[in-house]
Every structure is written in C-alpha cells, then in structure tokens.
C-alpha cells in the first residue's frame, strides 16, 4: 500500500486514512477486553477497600518484611514507565528514525504506567486518608520534612516525571489531533479541534513544534535516568544487606528499560494485528526493540554478577548470608525464575530467526515481564527477611489473596487506559511516519 509509487499527497492521505480508521466504532473483541479490564479494576478496588476497612492485617506482611508485594509492584510499574522516554526521547536524540512508529504507544504506556505506579504508595499506607502527608508543600501542617529521606525524593522525582511525560506525549499528539479533527465531524471534530490547540500546520508552527520537541527530549532524558535512580536509592541508602549497593542506580535503570521494552512488545504485537497496523509497525521495529532488550539484559546480568561477587569479596557475613538466602533459601525458586527470565531468555534474541518470529517475541517479552516483577520481589522480600536482625530470620512472607487481587487489579487498570487510548487517539504518530516516508522517497 504505502510502497506503491503514488504521489506524495496521495500517500499521506493513505497514511491518515489507515491510522484514523482505528478510531471508528470497534468490534466485539475490544468491548470484551474493555469489560474484562473494568471488572478487574472493580475487583481490585473492592479488595483495596476491604484492606482499608480491616487494616494491613489482611496482607501477608510481617515484621521485618513490611515492604513486600505492593512496593515490588510499585517499582515494577515505575520501571515499565521507562521505555516510553527511551524510545521517544533518547532514540530521538540518537537520530534512530525507526522509533517513529512505536513512539506514541510507548509514550502512552509511560503515562499509564506512572499513573498505576502512583496508586501503590497509597495502597501501601495503613491510613490512606492521610496520604497528603507525603506531599511536603503547602506546609500548613508544619511538618518537619526530612529532605534527606529518599522517600521524599521519590515524590518529587515521580511527580516531575509524570508531568514531563504527559506534556511530551501531548506535544507529539498535537499535529495528529489536527489531522483527526480534519477527518472527523460533529462532536468528535470539536473535541479534537479543542485538543489540537488550533494547529494549522504552518511552517512557523512546525518550527516551534520541532524546537519544543527537541527541548522536551533533552529534558526527559536525564529525568528518566534520575527517576529510577531515586527509586533505587529508596533501598540503597539503607544498610540492609542486599540493598546497600552502589550499583543499584544504573542497575535499576537498565532493569526498568528492559521491562519497559518487554511491555512495549507485549502490547504492540497483539495491537498491530488487531488494529491492522502491520504496514506501519513492521518486524523491523520489533526486531530493533528485541536488540535493545539484549543490551539491557546484559547490563542487568552484569549487575547480578557484580552483586554476588562483591557479597563474597566483602567478607561481610550478613551480605554473604543475604545472597545465599536468595540462591538456596525459601525464595530460591523465584530467584532462579528471575535469572532464567531476565538473563537467559533475552539471549534468544541473538538468533535472528527468534527476533523475527512473532510468537517468540511475544513469549519472551511476557517472560521478561514476569522476571522483572520477580526481581523486585526478590530484592525487597529476601533482603528484608534476612537482615541484621538474626532473630527474625526464617520468617516467610506469602502474599494473600488481597495483595494478589490488588496486583491483578493494577494490571487491569493499566490495560484499561491503554485500551481507551488506542481507540480514541491516533496510536501511530502520523506526522512522523509521513516524515519517514518522505525521507525514504
């Protein structure tokens, strides 16, 4: 279709038609998926309310394992939020033009993942109605804020990241919203017109747009690194064995990007088939994401290796004990699952045939998602269960049905937003695809 030797305006018109076609009335599969997600969110919300009513006693947390499933899920979702900025901002700065087709989906995923992550500090609170105590300003409550606490850094880092990611996403949408406005009628036209901010595509508008995009990309790049670094410091600043480690910041950032890229594949592979976008999101895009996964997986594996080596090298009995607990303690199966999923499965992508096989890509990305959640669980729970307090060794944490329901509810919450997004906004950036086509021709 787009490879036909047509004139440029006709090809551009075809691009608009193909991508905006997705915004028409969806089929029953879409409504089924949407209903399932709504049910999942409702069940998760009910379980949370149940926990609010009965207290944290309904969870499996027990001293000293007071950070567990919820915090692991919080870190997991913050990590998922990283690939959007990687694909949109960092690859943009590197002039990797292949990013265009999947950048919109990744950016949207970033925003929804932060929104989901933001729920977990609240869910984790015993008395959620005091949640605003987390926010230091305005200070009418005369709080004595401990600015040396990484938890406060988290509030600032994640808040800033949410604002910048949302603005960056919206900025990229503006030309496409104008295209959607021009192609629609009635109320939709008015809504798209309002959101497009009167975009008319003049040379001056494009000049300002490109400048703003470049500035946002330059701003978002250090921000994305800082966010997960700050999250990692929630752990590394303590002296808990298994947590107090200088490599945590880059290790968490690499892990976050790995999980984010895996989630991009998990969402994009079914979406491109269901929305008939195979001409725009091609195997070349999926293959490049797989290559990036190899890189980040190798960094994560290097970090695992360094952690274990230095646990032995330090001669610190607590450190050595904590890592031995991971390998052979009650959570050993999870540890080995994490190694297989995060360190071994992505190595499959060294084989070109595996990178070009849809089933392999989807299967591997799902396993990496599982592996990355497990990694956070292992880091948090195993380290706490084997800390300096020898008397509490041997206690085993198991998530209750409430925690598992809330975890699944958060997945439904994330997917719900994603489903709403792909049917109401252009999922592929039309302006960037047109630019790429023009360059190709």
């Amino acid at each position: 279709m787009i490879s036909d030797p047509q004139s440029t305006p006709a090809v551009f018109h075809q691009v608009n038609a193909d991508i905006l076609r997705v915004l028409r009335r969806p089929g029953w599969i879409y409504f089924l998926a949407l209903s399932t997600c709504l049910l999942g969110v409702a069940w998760g919300a009910y379980c949370w309310m149940y926990q609010v009513h009965n207290g944290l006693v309904v969870t499996g947390m027990l001293h000293p394992i007071m950070w567990a499933c919820y915090i692991a899920t919080f870190v997991f979702w913050v990590g998922i939020a990283h690939s959007g900025t990687l694909i949109s901002a960092i690859l943009f700065l590197f002039r990797a033009r292949w990013r265009a087709s999947i950048s919109r989906v990744s950016e949207a995923m970033t925003v929804f993942a932060i929104m989901t992550a933001g729920l977990f500090p609240l869910i984790h609170l015993g008395r959620v109605w005091y949640f605003y105590w987390l926010i230091p300003y305005p200070n009418q409550r005369q709080l004595w804020i401990n600015f040396r606490s990484p938890l406060i850094w988290d509030v600032f880092a994640i808040g800033t990241y949410l604002v910048v990611s949302a603005l960056f996403w919206y900025l990229g949408l503006i030309p496409d919203l104008a295209s959607a406005r021009d192609a629609s009628s009635g109320l939709r036209r008015r809504i798209f017109g309002l959101c497009a901010l009167g975009w008319s595509g003049t040379a001056m508008e494009w000049k300002h747009y490109m400048t703003a995009y470049l500035f946002f990309a330059a701003l978002a790049t250090p921000l994305v690194v800082s966010v997960h670094s700050v999250v990692s410091w929630d752990f590394a600043m303590t002296i808990v064995p298994g947590w107090h480690s200088t490599i945590f910041a880059p290790y968490f950032v690499a892990g976050a990007i790995l999980s984010g890229l895996a989630m991009v594949l998990t969402l994009v592979i079914p979406a491109r088939s269901l929305l008939h976008l195979e001409d725009y999101i091609t195997f070349r895009h999926l293959e490049n994401v797989a290559k990036l996964m190899i890189l980040t997986s190798l960094i994560v594996s290097y970090s695992y290796l360094m952690e274990f080596f230095f646990a032995w090298y330090s001669e610190n009995p607590y450190e050595r004990g904590s890592f031995m607990e991971r390998v052979s303690g009650p959570y050993a199966r999870l540890f080995w699952l994490m190694i297989v999923c995060n360190s071994l499965v992505p190595l499959l992508f060294f084989i070109p045939a595996a990178r070009r096989n849809r089933v392999m890509l989807l299967g591997a990305s799902l396993l990496v998602n599982v592996g990355m959640w497990t990694e956070r669980f292992v880091i948090i729970v195993v380290s706490l269960s084997h800390d300096h307090s020898v008397a509490s060794w041997g206690r085993v944490y198991r998530p209750t049905w409430v925690e598992v329901s809330v975890l699944l509810g958060s997945l439904a919450f994330f997917l719900l937003w994603f489903l709403l997004f792909i049917r109401h906004l252009p999922a592929v950036p039309m302006s960037e695809v047109k630019e790429a086509l023009l360059r190709k021709r």
């Binding site: 040396r148 250090p222 690194v225 670094s229 410091w233 590394a236 600043m237 002296i239 107090h244 480690s245 200088t246 490599i247 945590f248 910041a249 880059p250 190798l298 290097y302 970090s303 360094m306 952690e307 230095f310 090298y313 330090s314 001669e315 060294f350």
Partner: protein, 393 residues
C-alpha cells in the same frame, strides 16, 4: 596537502624526539624504582591503566560504530582504530608491571584471611594475564575483520563482524572489570564497591572519546586536510563528549551518594584517603576537569568546533589521567607527591602511545579509499548537494 593516506610518514625529527622522551621516561623510572619503589611503581600503574584504557577504547568505539551502523565517523574511525598501535606495547608494559606487584599491593605481604586464594599472587597473575591476552586477541581479530570488510562489499562478512563486535565489547567489560578489581580496588583490599568496575571501564571510554577528538585535530593540523575533523564531525564528537561527561558524573555520583549516606567505615575509608589534605585539591581538580569544564563548554554549539573541541578534549584527557592518579596513588595519611621523575615516566608513556598511533595509522587506513565516499553534509542537505569527504585522494 597529503594525497595518499598510506604515504603518511612522520617527520624523522618528531620520531627521534618521541624516542628520546621514551628513553628519558625509562631512565626516570629506573631511578624512581631505585629510590622510591612504591611511588614509582604506582605512577607506572597509573600510566599503564590510563594509556591501555585509552588505546582499547578506540577499538571499543569502532565496535559500537559497527553495531549501530554509524555512518558519521568516516576518518574518525581510522583514528580510533590506530589507537590499537599501543596494544602490543601495553602487553609488554604489563609484564614489566608484574615485576612491581610486591611494591604496589599491601596484600602480597598480608592477604585478607577470608580470601587467601583470590589474593594468591600466582592466581592474580594468571587471571589478569588471561584477561588481557583474551581482550587484546579479540581486539586484533576485530581490527583485522574490520579492515577486511572495507576491502569487500558492505554486505559481505557484515554479520560476522557484528558478532565479533558483540564478543569484543563483552570481553572489554569483563576484562576491565577484573583489572579494576585487581589493580585498583585491591590497593585497599577490604574496600568493596559494586559499581566501581563499571565506573572504571566507562572512564576509559570517556578519556578515549576525548583522546580521539584531540588526535583527529592534531592530524588535521599536521596534514592540512580538513576532512580529519570537519565541523559536522566535531559537532558529533562534542555531543558524544558531553554524553560521556554526564554518564561519568552519574556513575561517580551513584557511588559517592550511597557511600556518604551509608557512612560505613569500611566504605568511607577509601574516600577519606582521597579527600583529605592535599588530595582534596586533586579531587576538586578532577571534578573541574572531568565535569565542570566539559559540561559547561560542550553545551554550547559554538564550542563544538574543531579547535575548541581539541582544547576541551585535552582538558578531559588530563582530568581522566588525574582521576586515575587519584585512584591509585593515595594511601592512608600519604601526602600529594608528583616529581620530575613522575612527569618523565608519564611523558614516556605518552611518547610510546604517540609512536604506536603514528606508525599504526597508515596500516589501518589501508582500506581508506574504499571506506571513503560521499557523505551528505548537513549544511547542504536541504539542496540535496553532496560533498566529497574522502581524505585519501
């Protein structure tokens, strides 16, 4: 103007001068080892790590260019490859360094009781020798494959060269992590830091990209051929320098913050030895040279041009060398000391590196005429005009 790359012959006077500097460095080292063995061997170690790191980083960048299908480097790639000319000398210097291990490392006399096997001298020598030989061997294979690929069509052998690039980069990360642990961290055998090995090998790349920029400019100035470092390439190298400056700072900060916050004696000791007395000035100088100056200057487009880039590159190279000096030389309660002998040893290493680079460049640039071609210049991109960037014709 130089017409053919392979005809580049360094002036005899420069070669003679460099040989003289090498000889002076050798004499100074011999005198130093006689009078202050520990200090002189440490200065030798600093230079071995620094110049070997810069040398291997040239090949690492070429491997990255290969994997990312980077088309912008052009002759910058030849310069980076020519850094490998120092690797045979580095191997020789490594075997000399092994003679001084007893003077440098406290664990030779008093090894930590819990890690006797790790700190056994024979095991130390065996693992580091295997690491260095494997890395340099893979580097040589990569270089030969890269040169061969230039004499063939682009597609032929591209997959095997990519595979070799991957193995070479992995070998670099592993080998230099081991060298960082054995040659630097073991100076304080009870100090452990999980990020330090990665910080160390990324520091090589930071110094390497700065050295590439400086060398490109020197060749441009010496041969009068602008193509060695034209404005668009200087701009790209400037951006890479800025990126590595930020990465270096991030890795430094990630270590410092966690150690400062944890405030554990076994971690802080290493930092205290490097931030007390005269070493405080050295520490601040490292931050100024490696962070403040490159960061502030490379943000400006007007300074990402050949001459300013060369100046900033020089500052960065000096900063990375000083950082290696700060990591290796201080010990508990020692004062800053850098005498004439130390300067001559350092200049001797520089002269060896320069000789290796000068004599190796015509060899690696053999396929240059095939690698050259037409490159779209950004200034003329809009009009579709193309400019010739080949420097070998």
């Amino acid at each position: 103007m130089i017409e053919d790359l392979q005809e580049i012959k360094p002036p005899t006077s420069i070669v003679a001068l460099l040989c003289l500097v090498v000889a002076s460095g050798g004499v100074a080292f011999w005198l130093g080892v006689t009078n202050r063995p520990e200090h002189s061997w440490k200065v030798f170690l600093v230079n071995f790590l620094f110049w070997s790191g810069i040398s291997i980083s040239g090949l690492v960048f070429c491997a990255v260019f290969e994997l990312t299908h980077a088309r912008w480097p052009g002759p910058v790639r030849h310069i980076a490859e020519s850094f490998a000319g120092f690797l045979p000398l580095s191997l020789l210097l490594y075997f000399i360094l092994l003679q001084g291990v007893g003077s440098i490392y406290p664990w030779v006399v008093a090894p930590p009781p819990g890690r006797l096997l790790w700190f056994k001298l024979s095991f130390f020598t065996a693992r580091d020798t295997v690491a260095i030989l494997s890395l340099y061997g893979l580097g040589l294979l990569f270089l030969l494959a890269s040169m061969r690929s230039r004499s063939r069509s682009r597609q032929t052998g591209s997959a095997s060269l990519s595979a070799l690039s991957v193995f070479f980069i992995l070998a670099y990360a592993i080998a230099f992590s081991l060298l960082a642990i054995d040659m630097v961290m073991s100076l304080s055998p009870y100090w452990s830091n999980t990020l330090f090995p990665a910080y160390f090998f990324m520091g090589n790349l930071y110094g390497g990209i700065a050295a590439i920029a400086v060398t490109c400019f020197i060749w441009r100035w010496w041969t009068g051929v602008q193509g060695w470092l034209d404005d668009p390439r200087a701009h790209d190298l400037g951006k890479l320098l800025l990126a590595f400056c930020m990465l270096w700072t991030y890795l430094f900060w990630s270590q410092y913050l966690v150690i400062w916050y944890g405030n554990l004696p076994e971690e802080f000791e290493f930092l205290l030895a490097r931030t007390r007395g005269g070493w405080r000035v050295v520490s601040w100088s490292v931050l100024t040279l490696c962070l403040a100056i490159p960061f502030v200057t490379m943000l400006r487009r007007s300074l990402k041009r050949p001459a300013p880039l060369c100046a900033i590159g020089l500052v960065t190279v000096l900063g990375v060398w000083l950082e290696r000096f700060l990591l290796v030389v201080p010990s508990e309660g020692s004062a800053v000391s850098f005498g004439l002998e130390d300067g001559l040893i350092t200049l001797g290493f520089f002269a060896l590196f320069a000789l290796g680079q000068i004599f190796f460049l015509p060899f690696v640039a053999k396929g240059a005429t095939l690698a050259c071609g037409e490159r779209e210049d950004r200034a003329t991109q809009a009009s579709g005009e193309k400019i010739d960037f080949c420097i070998g014709r």
